[in-house]
């Protein structure tokens, strides 16, 4: 039996190596096990052959070979996903797009660029600097995450408050379907007829196909920017200031909040002058024409002062960059305190922010855990990080219990399960809390319209039994995946 399985694997390998040179199909146990995880909590995924194609045709070849051998396919970019979307289950063929990292074309007049999926988000904006343009979605991981991954999770970022998340900046995608066919969804001119299949595809977490090229909408760099660092003695005052700014009719480019422990950890790393005595800081960035920027910045400062805040304005680009570096390093700085974290991503109505925040602190205390909050306050997208050390027995159970309670508390006030990180494996089993059976069935049918045999990234997003046909064989998350 074991021999039979091995020989089947070898013929798959042979077929993959007909498509790609041997050094771009990796099968050594260590090489596969390293691919067993991304930046999420999961550590025990099992990858099959790991492929590094460099063209659409090669991706098609990998998909064809996998299909002939009845093997699922999991696409992977830089592996910075936070919900386990790229974690392979049951030895699928893993298609890594990092070597497809070129900027294919730029049309500065139309503000459109075609890019390959493995291009790093920040590399794109840097390459666009001579045109005075950038790609607006800026996830905290933007210096490393791939644009294909951004499309997969419909990624957000601090500057998505005013400009919208990835879907608003993707005009078209070239996709290799599980049939092996390459199709273009959407239109780079922004006038695709018929149903918006591009819209269905962005955020589908690799379950509809593999992205092989993306037409992105480019955003002009703002003529003026001001960044304010507001410090508060309580999280409540900080949350109220956020609500007040929004209620005042200002739509800042970004509003981000960090609480005490995370301020300490990031300040320790960047030395940006974050106030260590504050219970919370709020970073507000306003941009646009110089006159408007100055007026809005003054108004934000006024609203903060009225609520007991202290106000610091970034004096120059260097200070501004340091403040953002601090904000964007937050998750990675956690190991200064604990080696592991479980991160949630719920979104709550902005008017209920203060209330949900205090509930989060209560829940964490009830479960005897530590929490850090760093999040997109402007759109109510929470990121509570539950800290733990997986080597301490029994902690993971408490972490899970607290996580469920946070999700329930968020949904209870009319919130949603995930703002931008995706569902992946991690939030999969919470989907029924949010969606009815009919909702889930509709999603499963949409997925099967693209991928009838459910070979693209199986076991993610949709819980078992989500579909009436129930062909999902990956009912339970395999042993060991939760680490």
């Amino acid at each position: 039996m074991k021999l039979l399985k091995a020989s089947r694997r070898d013929s798959l390998l042979r077929d993959l190596r007909r498509v790609l040179p041997p050094d771009r199909v990796r099968v050594a146990p260590l090489e596969r096990s390293i691919m067993g995880r991304d930046a999420s909590i999961f550590e025990g995924g099992q990858a099959g052959p790991v492929c590094f194609p460099i063209s659409t045709e090669e991706v098609q070849g990998c998909v064809d070979a996998a299909r002939r051998h009845g093997r699922a396919v999991v696409p992977r970019g830089a592996g910075t996903g936070l919900a386990g979307g790229a974690v392979p289950l049951e030895e699928p063929v893993v298609v890594v797009t990092t070597k497809m990292n070129r900027l294919l074309s730029v049309d500065a007049d139309q503000a459109v660029a075609w890019v390959q999926p493995g291009m790093i988000n920040l590399d794109l904006s840097r390459a666009l600097a001579p045109y005075g343009l950038h790609f607006a979605p800026d996830p905290s991981s933007q210096q490393v995450c791939s644009l294909g991954g951004n499309v997969g999770t419909n990624a957000g970022g601090p500057h998505c408050l005013a400009l919208g998340v990835t879907s608003a900046h993707v005009l078209a995608v070239e996709v290799v379907l599980m049939s092996g066919e390459a199709v273009v969804l959407g239109d780079p001119d922004g006038c695709a007829p018929g149903l918006d299949l591009r819209g269905a595809y962005v955020g589908s977490e690799g379950m509809l196909g593999i992205t092989t090229a993306i037409a992105v909408r480019l955003t002009p760099n703002p003529p003026a920017v001001q960044t304010l660092l507001l410090a508060f003695d309580s999280v409540d005052e900080a949350a109220q200031t956020v609500s007040a700014v929004i209620a005042d009719g200002i739509v800042p480019a970004a509003i981000e909040m960090m609480d005490k422990n995370i301020i300490w950890a990031v300040e320790n790393f960047v030395g940006a002058g974050f106030p260590l005595d504050a219970a919370a800081v709020v970073i507000v960035e306003v941009d646009g024409l110089p006159g408007g920027v100055a007026a809005e910045a003054d108004r934000v400062a006024e609203l903060a002062l009225e609520r007991g805040g202290r106000v610091r304005r970034a004096a120059d680009d260097h200070e501004r960059a340091l403040i953002w570096k601090g904000r964007k390093s937050a998750f990675g700085a956690i190991a200064q305190i604990k080696p592991n974290y479980y991160l949630h991503d719920t979104v709550v109505p902005r008017t209920r922010l203060a209330e949900v925040m205090s509930r989060v602190y209560e829940i964490v205390e009830e479960h005897d855990l530590q929490v850090m909050n760093v999040f997109h306050a402007g759109d109510g997208n929470l990121h509570p990080l539950l800290l733990y050390d997986r080597r301490e027995p029994g902690t993971l159970e408490r972490v899970h219990a607290a996580g469920s309670a946070i999700i329930e508390a968020s949904l209870a006030v009319g919130g949603v399960l995930s703002g931008e990180h995706g569902i992946g494996i991690e939030k999969r089993d919470f989907m029924p809390l949010m969606f009815s059976e009919a909702d889930l069935d509709a999603q499963a049918r949409l997925r099967r319209a693209f991928d009838p045999d459910e070979m693209a990234n199986p076991g993610k997003v949709l819980p078992t039994g989500a579909s009436c046909a129930d062909v999902n064989t990956l009912g339970k998350i395999p042993e060991g995946v939760w680490g």
């Binding site: 990796r26 050594a28 146990p29 260590l30 090489e31 096990s33 390293i34 691919m35 995880r37 991304d38 930046a39 590094f52 830089a78 592996g79 910075t80 890594v96 990092t98 070597k99 990292n101 493995g118 790093i120 920040l122 991981s141 210096q143 490393v144 995450c145 950890a265 990031v266 790393f269 390093s329 937050a330 998750f331 990675g332 700085a333 956690i334 190991a335 200064q336 080696p339 592991n340 974290y341 050390d389 080597r391």
Partner: protein, 395 residues
């Protein structure tokens, strides 16, 4: 091999990576391959498989470790401060104990014997001139047939001269010495006692050899005078003797060590002023990894250079050039792909001359046809012109 704890990495260090991936773009081998096992996160994951999960050390593990340049660009990029360099050194030491390192690395033992090294260098220089060795492919510079002896000029500061740099690039030491002297300071030389700092041995996992070299070096650079270093790879390890040797004496020694630019940057007013022809030359400043990521003193090079030339920073976030001590010779293909990115950044800078404060980088970049000088060679040349100018004016 004993399966558990076989790599001897501190378990707390090994646990301290949250796998966020922010190090990936700062890793030269990930940048050119896009492959996880050639990234710091992937390498830590591999170390965990061996040490925590008892996996066997196989070829895939060895390639993942040996492909690391040990530039430590991942360290300043890590928000949690994961000490990757120390984990990699522990791993290399474990591999050396198991005799699983590249056999060529045992050759580093020669570096501790100055006369032998000089003799071999002389032979190599002759063989090179007979065109019997493919120098560029081996990552070698043009080795001089003869070198002038350096002579001490006082005892205010030590100038550490090292091994390969002294054997192959002594003229750089001479220029550095003249610049330091122009600040009105007498320079002492350690002689053959401080034959080698031990960096190459340490990075190859030959810890005992590195410690033995450290002990000799500390003995040869006695007293309390500052120890100036003009090779950033050597400077980085001399500053880490405290950790390597683990004694109070070593800690004190390390505190005396300064990169020569770091020392000069706080004494700029002691150097002669720039002449009329100042800042005509545009120089791209290449930040050697061990100056930028380990010593974190790279700003001082631009500060010193800016007094005499227009110094331009490269726009690649200090990504490694691929030289990595002996790396360019051990992993020529990866080293060359990494260098390609650096050459592109140099091209974008528009400068004709590149300044590099590390001999390895200088050799590696020069082999690709770039004009590379030590920053103080440029300053030395400017000072020479300024002094000539002053002499002319007097006449």
């Amino acid at each position: 091999m004993n399966a558990k704890a076989s790599l001897g990495i501190d378990p707390e260090e090994l646990a301290s990576c949250v796998a966020c991936g922010l190090c990936l773009p700062h890793c030269p081998t990930f940048r050119v391959t896009g492959e996880e096992w050639a990234s710091p996160r992937g390498r830590i994951s591999a170390m965990r498989q061996i040490q925590d999960q008892g996996a066997a050390i196989d070829q895939a593990f060895l390639s993942s470790m040996d492909s690391c340049v040990q530039c430590r660009g991942c360290e300043p990029a890590c928000p949690s401060g994961v000490p990757f360099g120390s984990m990699m050194e522990a791993t290399q030491a474990a591999l050396a104990r198991e005799r699983r390192i590249d056999w060529r690395r045992w050759g580093f033992r020669v570096l501790g014997y100055r006369r032998l090294l000089n003799l071999l260098s002389r032979v190599l220089a002759v063989v090179q001139r007979l065109r019997l060795v493919p120098s560029k492919r081996l990552g070698l510079p043009k080795i001089p047939l003869r070198q002038d002896r350096l002579r001490a000029s006082g005892d205010d500061v030590w100038l550490f001269t090292g091994c390969v740099m002294d054997a192959w690039q002594r003229s750089t030491h001479a220029a550095v010495k003249r610049v330091v002297e122009s600040a009105g300071v007498g320079v002492a030389l350690p002689g053959s006692g401080a034959a080698c700092c031990g960096a190459l041995s340490l990075h190859a996992g030959l810890e005992d050899h590195a410690r033995a070299l450290a002990a000799r070096t500390m003995g040869a650079l006695a007293g309390s005078a500052p120890i100036l270093v003009d090779s950033s790879g050597c400077g980085a390890v001399l500053k880490e003797y405290g950790m390597l040797v683990g004694t109070a004496e070593a800690e004190e020694f390390s505190e005396r060590v300064m990169d020569v630019h770091e020392w000069l940057a706080t004494r700029l007013d002691m150097l002669p002023p720039a002449g009329e022809q100042d800042q005509e030359a545009t120089v791209a400043v290449h930040d050697p990894c061990h100056l930028r990521h380990v010593q974190r003193a790279h700003q001082s090079v631009a500060e010193v250079l800016a007094r005499y030339a227009t110094a331009v920073a490269l726009d690649d976030d200090g990504l490694c050039c691929g030289a990595g001590g002996a790396y360019a010779a051990m992993q020529p293909e990866l080293a060359a792909s990494i260098r390609e990115r650096k050459l592109e950044a140099i091209g974008r800078s528009g400068a004709d001359i590149v300044a590099s404060a590390n001999p390895g980088c200088t050799i590696h970049l020069a082999n690709a046809g770039v004009t590379v000088l030590h920053p103080l060679e440029i300053v030395d040349e400017m000072l020479g012109e300024i002094l000539d100018q002053a002499a002319d004016d007097d006449r």
